[in-house]
């Protein structure tokens, strides 16, 4: 585990220095080339704004109205008989939809139960099981103005469900 955390820490400086050094050794004009790329990165980032506003508006509307909580309670009545703790159900719904929302909810669960408690472990696993699907799909497809997103979105959500299920099963094995 130590080694993995070192890889995570040192990959950044190694790439940040290594790539320009390699390019310089190949005779690339590093500064001008970097700036040209940065300009493209700037355009890509700005181009995603309309798509993100559209999706964030719809998701905030759904959350702020209380519709998400209604969904969570009805999903909870299906999932709790299967052994999923009721407090985890909102996390399952928010995780694919809102990154900051899920992080806040996980933080809340960890604080309430303690990070090393059985519930804290489950919340941590579910939080790490997948990324914010709606955000990734919107950002990636929005940046190339691609509208055929239906199948991909559905696939990613099915994937999220598989990830949650696997996380839950592993948790049952080790902590419950």
């Amino acid at each position: 585990m130590r080694i993995l955390s070192y890889v995570g820490t040192y990959a950044f400086p190694v790439i940040l220095l290594g790539v320009p050094l390699y390019a310089a050794s190949k005779g690339v004009k590093v500064y001008e080339t970097f700036v040209k790329g940065a300009e493209e990165g700037f355009k890509i980032a700005l181009g995603t704004l309309p798509y993100l506003v559209a999706v964030f508006a719809a998701i905030s509307c759904f959350r702020g109205s209380g519709a998400l909580d209604l969904f969570a309670s009805s999903l909870g009545s299906v999932l709790t008989p299967l052994g999923v703790p009721l407090d985890m159900v909102p996390l399952l719904l928010i995780r694919p939809v809102s990154g900051s929302g899920a992080l806040a909810l996980t933080g809340d669960l960890l604080r309430r139960y303690g990070p090393d408690s059985s519930m804290g472990i489950l919340a941590s696993i579910l939080q790490g099981a997948t990324d914010t699907t709606f955000y990734v799909v919107t950002l990636y497809f929005g940046s190339v103005r691609e509208k055929r997103t239906g199948q991909v979105l559905a696939s990613c959500l099915i994937g999220d469900a598989c990830g949650f299920l696997a996380g839950f099963l592993v948790w049952r094995l080790i902590a419950a």
């Binding site: 790539v19 790329g37 696993i125 990613c156």
Partner: protein, 195 residues
């Protein structure tokens, strides 16, 4: 996406009116769109940095090296990108960044998307390759989920990294499930379905 968007908006508005939550809903929407703008502003710097570095890797031939290294594994997942070093190398760099938990994952991913769009236009194989990249990065399989671990450590966990193994299993399942689901869905449904 059209369906999901309309569903979220209409359910949200109807529930808000029925439960008298209109004010809360409105505040939430306004906060949400400001959050989108703040997010993009935050992304600009990271995007400039990593797409700049990627351009260096591209012009120096490092992307080709990466594409050749990843070829045996990734040409199975991205059949359309075989022998096409430019998107393949960038795709590899993005997925590897994601696995390592680096901030370069999204900028490189979007760069790869624009390269694939340029290469394939509206062709179906382009959509399939883009879809697979999105599925890989949306599942976010990561060998060291530094965000959750940092949160656990900050809240006083005695073993913050203990969840890395289970999380990796869950991430693998999410990736495999997403890829399999896409495989089935893209066979059974007509291409170009706008939903």
């Amino acid at each position: 996406m059209n369906f999901v968007w309309m569903f979220l908006l209409s359910t949200g508005c109807v529930v808000a009116v029925l439960t008298g939550n209109v004010d809360a809903m409105m505040t939430s929407v306004l906060d949400g769109i400001s959050a989108a703008v703040e997010l993009v502003i935050g992304l600009i710097g990271v995007f400039c940095l990593w797409v700049g570095i990627e351009r260096l890797a591209e012009e120096s031939g490092l992307i080709d090296v990466l594409a050749r290294m990843a070829g045996p594994v990734f040409s199975k997942l991205f059949p359309g990108l075989k022998e096409k070093h430019r998107p393949l190398g960038t795709v590899t760099a993005s997925v590897m960044s994601n696995v390592l938990g680096l901030s370069s994952s999204t900028p490189l991913g979007l760069k790869a998307m624009s390269e694939m769009k340029e290469l394939f236009g509206e062709r179906r194989e382009g959509l399939d390759s883009m879809a697979r990249l999105v599925i890989l990065n949306a599942a976010g399989f990561c060998i060291f989920p530094s965000g959750v671990i940092a949160l656990r450590a900050a809240l006083g966990s005695r073993a913050p990294a203990i969840i890395a193994g289970p999380t990796a299993v869950a991430g693998l399942a999410a990736t495999a499930g997403g890829l399999l689901a896409y495989h089935w869905l893209s066979r059974s449904r007509r291409p170009g379905d706008g939903r």
